[in-house]
């Protein structure tokens, strides 16, 4: 068994006494490529924010590489949901990506080093966004902005990457472009992606978890139709385009997994 990079035990989150996440148990292994799916309001963003220390859980334990969140979060690259994002700020692409180099280590009168700048330029080239490095971020297309945010997360040289709906409102080509980038990065680092993009699961991810207050997860790509029905509250066709039958495995005796 590989080493677990994220271990969540018995996690509960309430907003105003309403349970948002219930008894979440999750183990993510090194170099895993995990998709988290689930309906709107299912708590996907909340779960990511708990892992990042942005939301304080009411109970439970989160360990990142054996560390508490306070230290462990610095190992994580975070790509927020684009819709939560201030696109009007007067800043260009290169400066946004440079910000990934900021950390708690810098003191007064900090300026970015040549090494920082080289790294940023390399990553911009890898992500194919070097050509508009001087563009104001509000003037990018959705797919371009998404890649800029991925770039900002990557220059921090994280060991784990969390992405919140990186392919929302992208066309098919930009979508597969993003997934291909992620698959390449996955050679080096662990990746967790929140997505509504069921069709991408079989072709790119190696595991999938379903979240709607409760987390349905078996450490692999197998989720039963019951799980999905239960999670979405209505029967959802998992046989989306290109999904292998393994995902549909209606394995018996799995209902008691949590």
């Amino acid at each position: 068994m590989e080493e677990s990079v994220i271990v969540i035990k018995n996690l509960n989150v309430f907003f105003n006494e309403v349970p948002i996440l219930k008894d979440i148990e999750l183990k993510v292994n090194e170099k895993q490529f995990l998709a988290i799916i689930g309906p709107n309001g299912g708590g996907k963003t909340t779960l990511l924010k708990v892992i990042l220390g942005l939301i304080e859980p009411d109970s439970g334990q989160v360990k990142i590489k054996g560390l508490d969140i306070k230290e462990g979060r610095k190992l994580i690259g975070y790509v927020p949901q684009i819709s939560d994002f201030d696109k009007h700020f007067p800043i260009n692409v290169k400066d946004v990506i440079l910000m990934g180099r900021i950390s708690d280590k810098q003191g007064f009168f900090h300026s970015y080093s040549q090494k920082d700048i080289n790294l940023v330029e390399d990553i911009m080239k890898d992500l194919d966004i070097f050509d508009f490095k001087d563009k104001q971020i509000g003037r990018l297309s959705g797919g371009q902005l998404q890649r800029v945010l991925i770039g900002r997360a990557l220059v921090a040289e994280p060991e784990i990457l969390l992405l919140d709906e990186p392919t929302a409102s992208l066309d098919a080509e930009s979508r597969s472009n993003i997934y291909n980038i992620l698959r390449d990065i996955n050679d080096e680092i662990t990746i967790i992606v929140v997505t509504h993009d069921l069709s991408a699961i079989s072709s790119y991810f190696d595991s999938v978890a379903c979240l709607n207050k409760n987390l349905h997860y078996h450490g692999d790509k197998n989720i039963s139709q019951e799980d999905v029905d239960q999670v979405y509250g209505c029967p959802i066709e998992l046989i989306a385009h290109g999904v292998s039958h393994r995902v549909l495995g209606n394995h018996s005796g799995d209902e008691q997994h949590d």
Binding site: L52, I91, M99, I102, S103, D104, F108, H110
Partner: protein
Amino acid sequence: MIEAILKYNFLQNALYSALMASVVCGIIGTIIIEKNLVMMSGGIAHTSFGGVGLGYYLNIEPIFGALFFALFSSVIIVTIRRKTEVHSDTLIGIMWAMGMAVGILFISFMQGYPPDMSSYLFGDILTVTNMDINIMLILVVIVVFAITSLFNQWKSYLFDEEFSYVRGLNTNFYEYFLFILIALTVIVLIRVTGIILIIALLTAPPAIARLFTYDFKKTIFLAIIFGAFFSLSGLWLSYLFNIPSGATIILLIGITYFVLAFLTGKLKRS
């Protein structure tokens, strides 16, 4: 006017205070526009009126009372904003009016003739004293040093608070610090434009600057230049025609903003 400036101390003070006001307005104004804290800053400014009243009542320098109230209210606002789910707008509205009410009460408690509050409400740059200048200078140095010494960290915090937090920045600290800097800025501006007109001097120069640039640092520099230009020309006009300085500066800069916004909007579309 040059001759007069060399000759009269009050004109020199007016000049210095206009320039210092432009510097803090360019910096803090740009920040509050990007962070949507314009009304919040207006709230802090109006709350400080309570401190002006307190100063008169206790017979201490009103600007110290104002400073105390501005700092106090800004810390309260951040704390309430973090701890509860009260909508910021509601909070500002209440503090805004309460501060004014406290000021009015203190003034009414005073024996004899009530003092003339209009220079605090509407500003009177031609009556700025040497002591005002010294206080302003200290506050301006604090604001400029605070922002320039941590510029990259501020930029990251302002642009994306959550991401900065995940990277390990102490965003709590930056939030409180920002509100304290807003309070200091308000105090610098009180003698120049007055409590009621502060918001315009904070927002108009960076708003004009934003018409010409998409860069954070350039926005700040341009805003300082526009602020200095308009406050000096406003000062000159008010001296020339003997009209209120604060109102003159605000109208000048406000009208310029609308004209330029209209023109650049037109130019972009055609």
